[in-house]
């Protein structure tokens, strides 16, 4: 170093600070955000105008109330009877429930007490109210078999009965317990 200074050689290079470039990224980003905000302002002004002519919430509530009341629901304990088509299930139930003592459960407490031990073999009083999980209730040999397309609304479906089909699309339905059997 002393020799360099004495000889008049150029000074050793020193690192320079990087040049100060303009913050283009920040500027562009700001510009884009301002444009977005401007568009948002116009959308909000449009929405403010449209709110003027809107119906109140009560009108919407009435529409919902009317709609819900007009449509039956298979998952609800109470529903309005459909008169459009005769359902095969009601026909079968009518066949089974011809004896008033064997009518389908309609709130009879004694019927409810029998449900946990569903014995479709012997118990005729709750043909459609079986809440058992015993799949063997579906293997009762029946003299009268009716073919029906299996669906989730099959009364035996919620009973846990398996509707396995070996007849194409249809299964044989035992009208005694309204359970699907293979």
């Amino acid at each position: 170093m002393a020799a360099e200074e004495g000889s008049g050689a150029p000074p050793s290079p020193r690192p320079r600070s990087p040049p100060r470039y303009p913050d283009l990224c920040g500027r562009h980003r700001l510009q884009a955000e301002v444009q977005l905000l401007s568009r948002e302002i116009s959308f909000l002004e449009e929405e403010l105008q449209s709110v003027e002519g809107l119906q109140p919430v009560s009108a919407c509530c009435k529409e919902i109330d009317d709609y819900v009341g007009a449509n039956p629901d298979p998952l609800i304990p109470i529903f309005k009877k459909r008169n459009k088509h005769r359902c095969i299930w009601r026909w079968l139930r009518a066949m089974v429930c011809c004896n008033p003592t064997r009518t389908c459960c309609s709130g009879d407490q004694s019927c409810r007490r029998k449900r946990p031990s569903c014995t479709c073999k012997q118990n005729w009083s709750c043909p459609s109210c079986c809440a058992c999980t015993q799949r063997n209730c579906c293997k009762v040999p029946c003299s009268r078999l009716q073919c029906a397309v299996p669906t989730l609304s099959c009364p035996g479906y919620s009973c846990g009965c398996v509707c396995s089909c070996s007849f194409g699309r249809k299964v044989c339905l035992c009208p005694r317990c309204l359970c699907c059997i293979s």
Binding site: Q31, Y67, G107, S153
Partner: protein
Amino acid sequence: MSVAELKERHIAATATVNSLRERLKQRRQLLLDTDVAAFAKSQGRSAISFSSTDLICCRTLQGHTGKVYSLDWTPERNRIVSASQDGRLIVWNALTSQKTHAIKLQCPWVMTCAFAPNGQSVACGGLDSACSIFNLNSQVDRDGNIPVSRILTGHKGYVYSCQYVPDQETRLITSSGDQTCVLWDVTTGQRISVFGGEFPSGHTADVLSVSINSSNSNMFVSGSCDMTARLWDTRIASRAVGTYHGHQGDVNTVKFFPDGQRFGTGSDDSTCRLYDMRTGHQLQVYSQQHEGDDNDVPIVTSIAFSISGRLLFAGYSSGDCYVWDTLMAEVVLNLGTSQNSHEARISCLGLSSDGSALCTGSWDKNLKIWAFGGHRKVI
């Protein structure tokens, strides 16, 4: 324009936006003369009464070896497709509980699945940022797997939700972590429209759910981590038709009400809400008091309406599955405390097309099907 000027404009525009939003909120408040529950009570309605055995678990679908993340019913034939953390899709016969197909996925990080309207194909998506289509009638490959028939690529983030457009085998809508929804042509694999993203009025965070209006399949609603739901017209991708505020957390799930004029949402804020599509009104909040501290508040993961709209099924991270009376805003049943209930978070749920059964999927690796097993009083 200088940066300083731009910053001033930005501050002014932000203040204008906030002011307009506040004015809009106040105008809407004037129209909130009632809510669904108060109206129903004024009409003399009472809550649906369920006994503990009215809705029962009649099938448990076992077979996944990981958490179940998503499920979808086919419109007919009573089949369900489910997607799981185990990297598989399984197609189930809901009547017999049998598995008809088990598809091992190339990307195991699947988050969503959907059945095509004709029941012949299934779609799934996840962390691969793509949506894969499988034809269930395809011949299996050497390993016994169904080969993928189409991969829809283009999203820049994970695919969280997908749904086929009703009655259109070739159209599918996905929602993504890239803040957009996309309408796809499944036949060509091309994006038809992108909703959100670079255009304003799109979501500003991950989009977690979509629901297509079955009454008007040009309209769909999306739910997002930006705490809003947005309504879209597939013919107009440039802007959302409406933005629905109210939730205080991520909107995890959206579902149209059966009349096609309203839709429900479920959120991290533990509430479900019902909105009117046309007016934008928030019609009802479905909220339940929870025991424990605020950190344990369960989030709503999934919702579905019964076919009449009278019941709102909501699955929660706690494992509860509340059955809400939509009109009375009361919980009428909790499937989470029923016999044979799930043992972990309910992650997904869906109603069969005829409305007679509900399927729930859970982190306990099972799916369960619930149907009406009680007495039905006919009036």
